[in-house]
Symmetry: C2
Subunit: 398 residues, 2 copies
């Protein structure tokens, strides 16, 4: 047996990361450690550091002055907690239980931002990796993988505006084993995001699995596109290779994505068992995706019965940039004369876009166009977008 | 326009990671930087560090003595390069061009292992994150996303041995738009891996896309299972939540996975347009997955026409552990009497499993059982498994 276990150890050592300390008897630390009362301890080994902090959206936000060129804005920034050191291991325990939520965080080691290397769970947001922390309970249980039937998530390529592009498709549990046709929810990301954002940061597959299993949402197909029409796919998934993700994404809000969006709908209707009609189609998006959803539904008033604007980037585009943005009032009249099944707006109280959203709602109110509205705490953050997804989805296709 | 661009800037700043230095005018560094001659520069900001090194499989390996309890083994470990510091930025440029390959690497900052935070591309191998470096050219071009038709990759749930489990399925470009039936290749990971390993570290989707586009491989479905039968899915994708991935994976090599494997085959045949017969089915795996492939094909001699053992973990199991492992000689006779289309063995010259593989080949030779054999440089590493995949796949279903 000695020979046997030696070979198995070697197998482990080489197949696993062989430099991993834990394998060779080195001390391994646990971070984050979620205690039974939902306080959380963060730990990091940094024997030579002078100052170590943790920052993330689990901490109360703090106002910070941010400069954009000559302009100065007050913005809500995540708070910072100070770690204390003992024998080279720095530690911070939250003074209070952390509320149920899906969070991201970083360490600041002598000012250098880094992820928690004892936590292998990371999300990429454009060019930043963040460590993940999920505290279960309440709405947050919808963000967890639970023991319920799971849908399938596929990454698939199609053609839009003549270009080969990638999208993500969620098909609900049972889709493959029936001849049933399903309604379709088009779910769009924000500026800088891509076809993976709603799955990783938005927890869409988990939310849909759980809402459907609880009978709160209809079984539906969810299509997550890449809204950067000049980009074939998410960073690292393109023929560019592993180049640094660019913050310079041209053609995001100049009409090209919106004007070619029915290519996506045609592709999905041709390739999935959809109910290809207006009252079985929803479109919603966050920030830039809310802007896209507004104009796609506005220009295709017979195509989308349900429209959701999540912290929508309203009031940011010069209407003369594209015919897509022109004649808004006449198009709105057509859209609302045709009575959408649902027009839904959600935004955070401290979102910097709340004024633009209030102005838009005022306009809808004045014109007598009906919509549902949800206002939440906080700003332009994923926490709100996950909330809006969990609130909007149960209203669809009823 | 000032108001407009300010709003857009704020959009960017909040939707993007707002603490990202680059956004607010801080210096941003590029790492890794691949120069035109394929030398590579690695950079890291660490103003207070005393010693900074880079380690990865792009550097020549070095022998290192590794202790397993009382046992001592000489193992090939990745080399280490020393970075030099200027103004707090550490830098290392490879003295030679780096050969085309898909590499992983880390920094060692005063001995602390960390990923390259200027490189958002990371792979997870069980409990270790590594930064990625892809040098194109030669075989390595098969690992890139190229401008060729792309297959679909789906994460899907099924039932095996009564348990809900997750697998990855690659369907080739055109699958969804035809009524054609396709052969199926079951591709199994090594110890500690999961249903994502062949996609992330193995570059399977890219390799298949490219080989099929070049006419070198037949269009086929590739099914990547999770070989840890006690685990429902990859870490983070289970109802356990985001717990630290365990190195303690019970039931990996005691027969349960192998004896229930036909559940997978039945599921795939029932849910995909497969050619459900032996000469249209292949099974191969790396390390533990090679071990699994050997015994699954051995116990199902009418099911798999093509068998691939990539650095297979042979000679590690007590045959009395499971009926699956018993009567090997009689089962081998049956398997080879039925003339498999291909029995393929690949291993690295310095793999610690080469003796066990040589012993197995000697046995096959003595019994007159035909197989193809490939011996490569290097040890028990992903570079070899990608090579074997690119060599084995073109031989299938011809």
């Amino acid at each position: 047996m000695k020979k046997l276990s030696l070979t198995l150890m070697a197998l482990l050592a080489t197949t696993f990361s062989f430099a991993q300390q834990a394998l060779f008897g080195g001390a391994s630390i646990v971070s984050p450690e979620i205690h039974p009362d939902n306080t959380v301890t963060f730990r990091v080994v940094a024997p030579k550091a002078v100052k170590v902090q943790v920052t993330g959206d689990f901490l109360p936000t703090q106002k910070q002055t941010v400069k954009f060129g000559d302009n100065v804005m007050e913005m809500d920034m995540p708070g910072v907690g100070d770690l204390t050191e003992k024998d080279g291991v720095w530690e911070y325990t939250t003074p209070q239980p952390v509320a149920p939520e899906f969070y991201t965080y970083h360490f600041l080691i002598d000012g250098q931002k880094m992820i928690d290397l004892n936590n292998v769970y990371v999300n990429r947001d454009v060019s930043t990796l963040s460590s993940i922390l999920l505290i279960g309970g309440g709405r947050s249980d919808l963000y967890k993988v639970n023991a319920v039937p799971h849908g399938t998530v596929a990454k698939r390529w199609y053609t839009q505006a003549g270009m080969t592009r990638r999208l993500s498709v969620y098909t609900p549990a049972g889709y493959e084993n029936s001849n049933k046709r399903y309604p379709v929810f088009y779910l769009l990301h924000g500026m800088g995001g891509d076809e993976e954002a709603w799955l990783t940061q938005g927890r869409t597959a988990q939310i849909l699995d759980n809402l459907i299993a609880q009978g709160k949402a209809e079984p539906m197909i969810v299509v997550m596109t890449n809204g950067n029409i000049s980009q074939e796919a998410a960073p690292g998934e393109t023929s560019d290779g592993f180049v640094p993700p660019s913050m310079n994404l041209p053609k995001t809000m100049e009409g090209s994505f919106e004007s070619s969006f029915m290519d996506v709908v045609k592709f999905i209707d041709a390739n999935y068992r959809t109910i290809a009609k207006k009252q079985s189609r929803a479109i919603a998006g966050l920030s830039m995706g809310g802007f896209h959803s507004k104009f796609i539904s506005l220009n295709n008033p017979d195509s989308f019965g349900y429209v959701g604007l999540f912290s929508a980037a309203l009031g940011v585009t010069d209407p003369t940039v594209s015919p897509i943005y022109m004649n808004e009032d006449a198009k709105l009249k057509t859209q609302f004369d045709k009575k959408p099944n649902l027009y839904w707006i959600g935004i955070g109280k401290t979102d910097f876009l709340i004024q633009a959203n209030n102005a838009y709602r005022q306009k809808l109110d004045q014109l007598g166009y009906k919509y549902q509205y949800m206002e939440t705490d906080g700003g332009h953050i994923w926490r709100n977008w996950r909330i809006y997804l969990t609130e909007f989805t149960p209203l669809l296709f009823k």
